[in-house]
Structures are given as C-alpha cells and as structure tokens.
C-alpha cells in the first residue's frame, strides 16, 4: 500500500483513464440487469441500479455513474444525482430487502446535484429518507467508495454494514474546493484544503468511519482496471460472507452502532 498525500490521491482519482462504474460492473457482476426509474418522477442517469450475479449469487447493485467522455457525462450529469436518483436507489434497496439479496453500493460522485430542479424535487428530503431507510434495511449493505465520496450525495448510498474505500479514494463532508473558498476565500487553494480535511482512506480508518481499504493496481486503478476489479471482488466476497452469517437483529444493531459511535465530545 502506498503512502501518498491526499492531494496526490486527488490527482489519481481525477486521472482521465480512472476506471468508472461502467468499467467495473461487467468485471464484477455477471448478467447484470439494469432497472430504471423511481416510479415517482423519472429516471436519473447519474445512478445506475439493477440485479446481477456476484460469484453465482444474485445481488442488487446501486452505483453513481461518472462518464468516460463528454457524451456519457451529459447522460449521467457528471455523476451528480438528482432526487429521483436517490429515490430510485431506495426503490431498488427495498426490492433487495424483499428478495433477500445483499446490496452493493459503488460510490464515485462529487456530490448531489445543486440546481433549481433538484431543490424543487426535494434533494434534502430524498437524501434524508435514504439515510433513514438504509439504516434499517433488512438485508446486508456493502458500500465501496471508488473515487470521490462527495458529502451527503455519497452518504445517501453509504449507510451500510461495511464501508470500504479504494486506497486512493477520498470521502469528505465538503469538496476541497468548497472548503478552500470558505476558509481562505480562495477556491484555488483546494490542494491545501485536501490535506486539512483528513479525507483519505487511512484518515477515515483511524476515525472509525472506513472499515476496509482496498488495494489498487500499482500507481492507481487506471494502470490495471482488471487487477483492481479483482481486489474489489475479493473484498466484496469477504464482506458478503461476514454479513450474511449474522442474524438480522445482530446485523441491524451493528449497523446502528457503526454510526452511533462516531463523534468526539466530552461531557464535563
């Protein structure tokens, strides 16, 4: 495992050949069947969801999608979901619960989209509802941050039993750019902010937020997507095994505690 700074990792996850969810899904799952729509408003191209086989067992896959080129990015809104995306995710998660399938969430997003329509359709409510419902979803949920884990927009798919991060992935409450513009009124100082925020997989393991770090191909996932996919696959395999062994009450209690215990305060 390498020891890079947060902003060196930022460069790696922004590499133009960084594999996206569209690259990983065929490498990780067989016979993936995509499903569309939130049944309320529309279908959000920023979130892909469906069912496929993982090592012979059906799982529900929910993922934020970044495009590999401009055309794909237009269709997926650069990986920034609208409320209907989060509502689609919840619909598919509930479906997984009904059919007793584990849920695998793959996250790579700068965050929930900020726009007029997103506000009109209740971006805040959509995220809040997911946090609430995923916290008691009666089936194992495994989330892997592949690249960017952008704030509430990432968290909406990350209330889970195990949170893993690729070794170069970052998971933050605010974009380094946004942080820099608040702290120093200068968005261009994002590289400094990147270090300040403690957002690498190692930082977050120390803070009790990240449960597992998944190795990437040497130099970054773009150097060997297949190898990186193998590492991811190995991790998912172990995580599913660990979680499926547990009784439902134990699973849900542990999920509650996983988030319940995060926070640093004193009482006197």
């Amino acid at each position: 495992m390498n020891s890079l700074t947060a902003c060196e990792r930022l460069d790696i996850i922004r590499h133009k050949n960084r594999p996206t969810v569209r690259d990983y899904i065929p490498m990780l799952f067989d016979d993936f069947f995509e499903m569309h729509g939130d049944r309320l408003y529309g279908d959000d191209g920023a979130i892909i969801g469906g069912v496929g086989y993982f090592k012979g067992k059906p799982v529900t896959v929910i993922a934020t999608v970044k495009g590999r080129n401009l055309e794909e990015n237009k269709a997926s809104n650069f990986g920034m979901p609208h409320p209907e995306g989060y509502r689609k995710a919840l619909r598919l998660a509930k479906q997984a619960e009904k059919f007793h399938r584990p849920v695998i969430c793959l996250v790579d997003t700068a965050g929930a989209f900020c726009g007029i329509e997103a506000e009109e359709r209740g971006q805040g409510e959509a995220i809040a509802k997911n946090l609430m419902e995923f916290s008691s979803l009666k089936t194992p949920v495994i989330t892997i941050i592949l690249g960017e884990g952008g704030s509430g927009g990432a968290l909406a798919l990350a209330v889970c039993d195990e949170l893993a991060m690729l070794e170069n992935a970052l998971y933050s409450v605010i974009s380094p750019r946004g942080c820099a513009s608040i702290l120093w009124k200068d968005a261009s100082r994002e590289r400094e902010a990147c270090e300040v925020l403690k957002i690498t997989a190692e930082d977050l393991s120390r803070l009790g937020i990240c449960d597992g770090i998944i190795e990437e191909a040497p130099g970054g996932a773009h150097n060997d997507p297949e190898l990186t996919a193998e590492y991811i696959s190995e991790y998912i395999s172990g995580a599913i095994k660990r979680k499926c062994e547990k009784g439902l009450d134990e699973l849900l209690n542990e999920r509650y505690t996983k988030f319940r215990k995060v926070g640093e305060f004193s009482e006197n």
Binding site: E119, A128, S172, R260, G263
Partner: protein, 286 residues
C-alpha cells in the same frame, strides 16, 4: 457556505442595503430602544417587538431567535429540564483554529454548542425538545449536535414522549470533517428507531434550515412545520447561481416554495406555534 447563507438572508430582507444586519437574531439599530425592520423598514419600540416574539407588526418578518428566546416562548414556564448541558466538542480532525473559535463563541453566547435539548411541557403536554441556535457557528452539525439529537430521540423512545425539533443550520460542520457527515446518518438512524417505536416527531423549520440538516433529521418528521418566509434548502443559493449562471427568484427555497412543492405540511406564524404543537400532540393521543 456559511457566508453564503448570511448573504442570502441579508439579501432577502435587506435588499441591497448594508445596514440593519440581523445576524444572530439581534437587531443592531437603533441600539436597545427601537427596532427597525430589515425587511419593511418599519420602526417599532423594542418592547413591542419583543412582546410579539420578535415578529415585525407591520410586515410579519420573523427575526431569528436564540435558543433561549425560543424556549421561553414555546414551553411552559419553568418546565424545561436540559439534557447534556455540559457536552462540548473535541477536535476530531485537528482543524486549525477550531478550539479557539469555539472558546470564543462559548464566551460570547453562553452556549456550549449549537443545540439545546431536554424535556419540557407545552401547554401541559410532555415533550422532548431540541432547539438549534444560529449564533453558534451557524448552527452547523458536528459531534455535539449529532450526539445530543440522537440522545434526544433515544430518551423519547424510552419515555414514550413526542419529539419536537426546532431546526436551523448552515449544514454539516466543516471543521469536523467526515465525522460531521456521519452525524447525518446517526441522527437519521435514531429518528428511524424512534419512528418505528410509534413516536410522534414534529419538526419546526426556522431560518435558515439548510445543507446537511435539511438532508437529515430535519426532513424526516411525521409533521413538518415552518415559520413564514424562512429559508429552507439543500444547496446554498450562490452555489446554484454559480451553476446555472443566473439569479434565482427571491422566493426560491422559502417556506412557501417548499409548501408549494410538497415538502412541508404547513406554515405557522410564530405566535401560533405553541398552540399548534399542543394541538397536534393531542390529536395523536388517540
């Protein structure tokens, strides 16, 4: 993001005028004796303004209240017993200047962090109540807010009491990094357990309720009330304007906008909130 919120509220109520800033809910001009409304410029005696719960008698502008002021006009006199009054935040990501900023705010406001929680009665109805205070780091949610809100739900579940949350917030607290993001999940998980136990949860959204608080426990109430004209939204106005490259209409992200789009149940004037809550609790007693 915090600056953004201040500027939105200033813009909304002040037009372009720089004077009469209303930050922290304390009108600054004229000092003490009179209150000049930042929205309609009407001048009234401070005493009269305070008697109406800091609502402008001319244009119905609802000024921000401190958590203590809110408590005083909401719960029965002497009924409040505070939970976790001494809880203070540590510095989980060693954010430079964060402890100093907090010490400074504690001295200035007398608060320990951005929310007070506890038990009280409202017109005789026993409740667990939480009130956020925008004077403390724009009521952003870090470890203390997350923990106190979570404990409030857990206590209410144990004691089978309704939960009333007066929300206002600039969002998650950047200075606590991803730890503050986790508070969104933590409070929602607690709200879910409480809800599954059959408890009644009423949110009262006050000015401004935004970001990570809108995207967590504030939006999952069984009943959501808002004060007139308050700002409620997920993304900051400037962020959206930056994305779409045009100015947003004034009523964008107002309580009225949310009512129209189906995200809150009702808009209630400050003077009627107490009786509305008591009424709703009675209705849910079966």
């Amino acid at each position: 993001m915090l600056e953004d919120l201040f500027s939105v509220v200033k813009m909304r109520f002040n037009g372009d005028k720089k004077e009469n800033s209303n930050e922290g809910g304390k009108p600054s001009i004229p000092k003490g004796l009179m209150f000049k409304c930042p929205r309609c410029s009407n001048v009234v005696f401070m005493e009269e303004f305070e008697k109406t719960g800091k609502v402008c008698p001319n244009c119905n502008y609802h000024a921000r209240l401190s958590s203590r002021e809110r408590l005083d006009i909401t719960v029965d006199k002497g009924s409040f017993v505070e939970y976790d009054p001494l809880m203070t935040s540590k510095n989980p990501i060693d954010f430079e200047g964060y402890p100093e900023k907090q010490a400074d705010l504690r001295a200035k406001t007398g608060l320990k962090d951005a929310v007070i929680t506890g038990e009280a009665t409202i017109r005789g109805e026993k409740v667990v109540i939480g009130i956020m205070d925008s004077r403390y780091m724009m009521a952003s949610m870090g470890s203390v807010v997350g923990e106190k809100i979570t404990r409030a739900f857990e206590q209410a579940e144990k004691k089978k009491l309704p939960v009333i949350m007066f929300t206002c917030s600039g969002g998650a607290r950047m200075q606590e990094g991803t730890v503050s993001l986790m508070q969104m999940a933590k409070t929602c998980a607690a709200a879910k357990r409480y809800s599954d136990s059959g408890g009644l949860y009423i949110t009262v959204m006050t000015d401004p309720t935004t970001g990570g608080v809108t995207a967590s426990f504030a939006s999952v109430g069984d009943i959501i009330i808002a004060e007139p004209k308050v700002l409620i939204g997920f993304a900051g106005r400037r962020v959206i304007e930056g994305t779409i490259k045009q100015r947003l209409p004034d009523d964008f992200q107002s309580a009225e906008f949310l009512l129209q789009h189906g995200f809150i149940d009702m808009i209630v004037e400050r003077s009627k909130i107490r009786r509305t809550i008591a009424h709703l609790i009675k209705l849910h007693k079966g």
